[in-house]
């Protein structure tokens, strides 16, 4: 992704809360589409999101969204929808009244705001039978849906969601994923912060990993997987050479194990079913270099080879450990 394609640019961006560091001199380019923002608590995710949505300003450096600074910028804020992580909502109001009021504040005309809010509540799949209840009577998952609806009120080009899957049951998460995918298909760019990494993995084409206020990695999932060994080399001085656990499926699994042990490439293995075995490599780089020759020399056919530790969770764990 080139920097010119990006919708969000950050350069030398830092943010401090007194002596507490929120973001530490980060450079970042986020492309259009679905982007996941990943990091442990205190990594700087919420700080970054607050700067993007114009709630706080950078202490130094610059962040632009659609080439404009977000702070106190109504023209830009009209293009951004924000769904906060916090549970705080006006508990005494019905969702329709709350959404209609926020819709009027967002500039939707009085004639259009009612149908628009009803449309959105349908869209976030909040059953109509719950509409007359006050938000205080809602479950966590229902509140998440209402929060998402308020973020969509002014038809944003960029939707920023802070932990939107929190409190949703598995079915609710699936529905939320569907809604987000559909919005993405309609051309809405989505930045989504979540700690539920398998769901981000399924949803997001691009991932930004934050830790200690710094960007540890950023790119498409494919790029991250490809670059992981180099990134870890830089971090460990070359000691870590990428994934060391693989699933292998061959026509002669026992012979393959014998060969790998004999060559000193294997630390251990576990036989699964149907010729599949999980292996733990002692020297991943040497394994990659020599495997084709070894297979040819011993006449072993390899049907499948996949890493055990290249899920987003694994990448995240290995980068942040």
């Amino acid at each position: 992704m080139s920097a010119t394609d990006a919708i969000i640019h950050a350069q030398d961006l830092s943010r401090w809360y007194g002596i507490v560091m929120g973001l530490n001199n980060i450079d970042l380019h986020i492309p259009p589409g679905l982007t996941g923002l990943v990091g442990p608590n205190g990594a700087g995710k919420s700080t970054l999101i607050r700067i993007i949505t114009g709630q706080i300003r950078p202490s130094s450096g610059e962040l632009t969204v659609f080439n404009e600074r977000p702070w106190n910028n109504p023209r830009l804020l009209r293009q951004i929808g924000y769904c906060p992580e916090d549970e705080a909502m006006p508990d005494d109001l019905t969702p329709l009244l709350w959404l209609e009021s926020l819709g009027l504040i967002s500039g939707i005309s009085a004639g259009k705001v009612g149908p628009r809010c009803r449309d959105l509540l349908h869209r976030v799949k909040l059953a109509e039978e719950h509409w007359p209840k006050t938000i205080g009577q809602y479950s966590k998952g229902m509140r998440q849906r209402v929060k998402l609806a308020q973020a969509l009120l002014h038809t944003p080009r960029l939707l920023v969601l802070d932990e939107p899957m929190n409190g949703l049951d598995p079915m609710g998460r699936q529905e939320m994923q569907q809604i987000l995918k559909q919005l993405s298909d309609e051309g809405v760019s989505i930045l989504i912060s979540s700690h539920i990494l398998p769901e981000l993995e399924a949803l997001c084409s691009h991932v930004v990993i934050l830790n200690w206020g710094r960007v540890m990695a950023s790119g498409s999932q494919t790029e991250l997987r490809t670059l992981l060994p180099q990134m870890l080399d830089g971090k460990t001085g070359g000691a870590n050479r990428g994934p060391s656990r693989y699933f292998l499926r061959s026509d002669a699994p026992q012979r393959l194990v014998q060969v790998l042990f004999a060559e000193g490439l294997l630390d251990g293995f576990h036989m699964e079913e149907d010729g599949l075995m999980a292996v733990h490599l002692s020297d991943p780089q040497s394994f990659h270099d020599r495997l084709p020759a070894l297979l040819a020399a011993h006449g072993i056919a390899l049907f499948e080879m996949r890493s055990q530790d290249c899920s987003l969770q694994d990448i995240f764990n290995r980068i942040t450990q």
Binding site: Y17, V20, G22, G42, S46, T47, R50, T53, G54, Q55, I56, R57, N72, P74, R75, L77, R78, I80, G81, Y82, P84, D86, A88, M89, P90, D92, L93, L97, W98, E100, S101, L102, G103, L104, I105, S106, G107, I108, S109, A110, K112, R116, D119, L120, H122, R123, K125, Q150, L152, H154, T155, Q182, E186
Partner: protein
């Protein structure tokens, strides 16, 4: 279920009057919740009871005017404004709901002004009820006070606007706006306002008293020195104060972030 892409096209600029209607709907519904009504109801009830106790044994109408000017206009009104307008945005920040407003396509100064005018409508309604109760007691205890009502209502309107603007600005200035307000009140509105120098024109209480003494009954209680100044300049003073405090408050809200982030805490 409608899953079609939204048809709504956002307007180029937000109609501030319509946006204020939206905010007013939120404020109105929130203020009318029972547990939130208890505070104003207790304040109204307490003041009414106190007024009855004071005025029932008063020998003449002067007691009513003294009570209204000193206690109602210069104590109850500013303290009530401090409670309502000082908290108007900090309350949202503390509840983590301010982001629902600051991420809307509005300038922060516009949000501040919308909050101010929304709360001001609420304050004017509460104080109109209080006026009815106060004059009701006055009539009940046999005082001839109805002639005072027109000037009272004018002063109440401008008093609330200016006290509210001052308190909204103090709320933006510091989290301990109540302490700040009390210190400001003692130094400027009580102290400087009563010192016979030109500095007294900086106090809102001086201008309010000048307006109130345009009524003969009040004039008898507080003397002729104030009435000689004329009501025109006092109205200008209150109006200018209101505008200046609002500009300062809006500037502070544009400058300050006021988020309740855990990291910031």
């Amino acid at each position: 279920m409608n899953l079609a892409p939204p048809q709504h096209e956002p307007q180029e600029s937000v109609d501030l009057f319509a946006a204020s209607r939206g905010l007013w709907r939120l404020l109105w519904r929130r203020q009318l919740v029972w547990r939130r009504l208890l505070g104003p109801a207790a304040a109204l009830g307490g003041f009414t009871l106190l007024s009855w106790l004071v005025l029932a044994n008063a020998p003449n109408d002067n007691a009513f005017y003294g009570w209204v000017v000193v206690f109602y206009f210069l104590m109850v009104m500013p303290l009530f404004c401090l409670n309502v307008c000082g908290a108007m945005i900090r309350e949202e920040a503390a509840a983590n709901t301010l982001c629902f407003f600051t991420t809307r396509p509005l300038k922060r100064s516009e949000i501040f002004l919308m909050f101010y005018f929304g709360h001001m409508v609420w304050l004017q309604i509460v104080f109109l009820i209080q006026t009815l109760l106060l004059f009701g007691i006055g009539i009940l205890v046999g005082r001839d006070v109805l002639g005072f009502l027109p000037i009272f209502l004018v002063c109440q309107f401008f008093g609330l606007m200016s006290w509210g603007a001052l308190c909204a600005m103090l709320g933006m200035l510091h989290a301990r706006y109540v302490v700040l307000g009390l210190v400001y009140g003692l130094v400027v509105e009580v102290g400087i306002a009563n010192i016979p120098t030109n500095l007294k024109y900086l106090s809102l209480s001086h201008h309010l008293r000048t307006l109130l003494v345009q009524h003969d009954g009040v004039n008898q209680v507080f003397g002729n020195t104030l009435s000689a100044e004329g009501w025109g300049w006092s109205l200008v003073g209150l109006g200018a104060g209101t505008i200046l405090f609002l500009i300062a408050g809006a500037a502070l809200f544009t400058w300050r972030e006021l988020i309740n982030a855990p990291a910031e805490r």
